[in-house]
């Protein structure tokens, strides 16, 4: 990837609701294969920011570019077609379909066969669907109804679905929310290894600081709609402004992290 056009470039993103500035002039960029965490306390504007990246919300001003191409104002499905996969904070899957069928739907959409009325969907790209499920460790669950899966497995399924269109960028909204601690580590390790191997850029929001500091290459911090810090995990951890925003949570984190490291 050339240095000139980063994978994702966000410039001066702004959104207000009435008098409240949810997001004010946020700019950052993301390289291919990089894992970037977007953090901030509740109400910092993370979700608003995220929704503007994936097309669910339109910014008042500012630009989002994917490999130099404008995505601002496009619909979620158009942004997906440009090569952006995503997972949701609360999983959204097709509950009455099997795990494999969930992936197949994404593959059907990727292959532009959505209006094919006569083909056989059960046979559609079965091999590729199997490979994607293997990749996320769900190979043994392919014929399970999706509604029977445990939450952690649903998150992994979402990852497989998000990878179906060979995305350049993955947007993950609180990927580990609602998961057990061990599942969190597993899922993020998996995501990181896939991202590095396939050179996919990953942007994720997260409340769990363990997850953030362990897996992010770089962190950006939002507070009250503005970007207050940006840098490597170490830099962000040492940033007094960030510590102030989190009301000393960084220190608590340090103590906990040392304990955790010894086990």
């Amino acid at each position: 990837m050339s240095v000139a056009a980063p994978l994702l470039a966000v410039e001066g993103l702004t959104k207000s609701y009435g008098g409240i500035h949810a997001v004010r002039g946020v700019s950052f960029s993301l390289r291919a294969g990089e894992i970037l965490a977007l953090i901030g306390p509740n109400g910092a504007g993370k979700s608003t920011c995220f929704d503007m990246l994936n097309g669910q919300n339109k910014p008042d001003s500012g630009h989002v570019r994917l490999l130099g191409e404008e995505t601002t104002g496009k619909k979620p499905r158009e942004i997906w077609r440009m090569g952006v996969g995503r997972t949701f904070q609360i999983t959204a899957t097709f509950a009455t379909m099997t795990v494999r069928e969930n992936v197949q739907v994404a593959l059907i959409s990727h292959g532009k066969q959505l209006f094919n009325l006569f083909g056989s969907a059960p046979k559609f790209d079965r091999g590729e669907a199997g490979r994607l499920l293997e990749l996320v460790g769900m190979g043994g669950y392919a014929d399970r109804p999706c509604g029977e899966l445990a939450y952690g497995d649903l998150k992994r399924l979402e990852l497989a679905v998000a990878l179906a269109n060979q995305p350049k960028l993955l947007l993950m909204d609180e990927p580990t929310a609602g998961m057990a601690p061990r599942e969190r580590v597993d899922l993020m390790r998996l995501t990181a290894s896939i991202a590095r191997e396939k050179s996919i850029g990953v942007l994720f929001t997260e409340h769990d600081m363990d997850v953030v500091f362990e897996h992010a290459d770089r962190i950006i911090v939002l507070n009250r709609g503005t970007l207050i810090a940006e840098g490597s995990p170490a830099e962000v951890r040492g940033n007094p402004q960030v510590q102030a925003v989190y009301l000393g949570e960084g220190l608590v984190y340090d103590a906990r992290h040392r304990e955790g490291a010894s086990t």
Binding site: P76, R81, T96, Q104, A106, S109, S120, R144, A150
Partner: protein
Amino acid sequence: MAFYVVQFLTGLASAASLFLVASGLSIIFGVTRIVNFAHGAFYMIGAYIAFTLTERLSGAFGFWGSIVLAALAVALIGVLVEMVLLRRIYHAPELFQLLATFGLTLMVEDLVVLIWGPDDLVGRRAPGFKGAIDFFGQNIPSYDLFLIVLGPVVLGILWLLFQRTRWGVLVRAATQDRDMVAALGVNQKWLFTSVFAVGVFLAALGGALQIPRDAVHHAMDLRIIVEVFVVVVIGGLGSIVGAFVAAVLVSELNAFGILIFPKISIILVFLVMAVVLIVRPWGLFGKPEAAARKTPGLTVNPWRPLTSNERLASLAVLVIAATLPLFAGNYALTVGSEIAIFVIFAVSLHFLMSVGGLASFGHAAYFGLGAYGIAFLAKMAGLPMIVCLLLGPLLGCMGAAVFGFFAVQLSGVYFAMLTLAFAQIVWSIAFQWVSVTGGDNGILGVWPEKWAASPSHFYWLALGVAALVTIALRIAVFSPFGYALRATRDSVLRSEAIGIDAKRIQWTAFVIAGTTAGIGGALFAYLKGSVFPDNLGISLSVDALVMVLLGGVETVSGAVIGAIVYKALNIWLVSQTDLSKLVLGGFIVLIVVVFPKGIVGMLEMLAQRRRKSSPPRSPLLAKPIESAE
């Protein structure tokens, strides 16, 4: 000028009853999330009981006492129904609740005839309001003035009830989030029962108050329920003020529509409803519904295409069905043709409803359009039958393309209501545009050509088309499009996130379903030799729903079985008993309560149990979000 004022006042008077019934429906829906189809039935029973009581009890006190007593008695019946029936199905999908209450309505229609006879009953005038008041040369019945005052008074009482009493606070809280209210330790059972009782009381009161104005008859339930649906949809489900404003709006539209557009007076109301739904899908005073907590997951067996053995078995059944003319008489063949046609109708709705998750309450519109298409082509253009059969369904296709475009902008209950409204519009056109459609007299003499005229030939034609249609739609279910359609049903959010234009997919499905229904309608026109507005009426739409649900809405083959069983039972019952609706209604209620998965769903469950292959569910795989109600 005076004339218009009087017309306006008449409209206001009609609004009172409508408001009472609609507010009852709205309150019940708000708390229990049940769209109570039987609400019209309670309205009707209220009128009948009030009639009997007012005949027995004399004097002013007797009359007004009877009205209140009748409403209370019906409320008691409502409590019984809630405790015996509804409590068992609160956790069922909303469609089943609708179906159960529809079954109840059918039963009541026959019971009412059984008890009070089939004739219209003209009730007593209200003591103290017998005369009319002169208004610049125009007469206004004084009872109308009483009703005009009553409406706002009831609105005020309800407002006080909801704002000033503990019960009212609980009801409002439950309307917002009933799970939360239950979590706070409120006894939901009794809250639901009391809410249902109040709602039914209002419906019955509305019915009882109508007796000095209108004759009491056994079809008044369907007429009111459609109007009430329109009112609550315009006003916003769950909003009392909305129900009031919309009741006034609808009644005035009716009152003035007749003066201004005598030809399309019926359409006017439905047009307004369609516009409101498109501009403000949750109604004028309603709130956008929070995303329903869908939990279909655990209940659904994964769908799969037929195995080769099953295909052979189906083929064998088809061959056996094709031998019917060898031993059956003409009557049986005609019945067979009708069943085959209803299989087409049912599978077309199944495609939209089970695969697409879009429960249309007006699917008969496209069936009927297909039938009228045939009538126009054959009678007016004089085209040969084959050409007619190919082109006739296109009218259904066009109707579905136009209405479907608007309908798929909505979902859930509102989608159902909008499709119902569109079907009523089409029905009104067929009914009122006499010069083209023949109105109530229909179009007669649409007979098949010689090659298809004999009962056996026509039976083979119908059977063949039904088989083709069923196979084609089955292929579509397991096509990439079918997967995409199921995807939009399960999660629009996820669908859009993987590049699926959900509305376009759903619109396409709507057009496919409408066209297929049109094919059924086309054959139906030839079978009956005539076309009537009833061919696109509500009861036919409901028939289709019942057939799909009876077979099993979560199965792939359910619609076929459901259509055969329902239609055969229907025809047989009509020939055997005068109380066919009572038996059929009871049967529907039984199915919903005892076999909520439908016939095919139940068979699948039994087969699975016998194989003992029900997938092992380790506790680790337990569902993370416990099934919400």
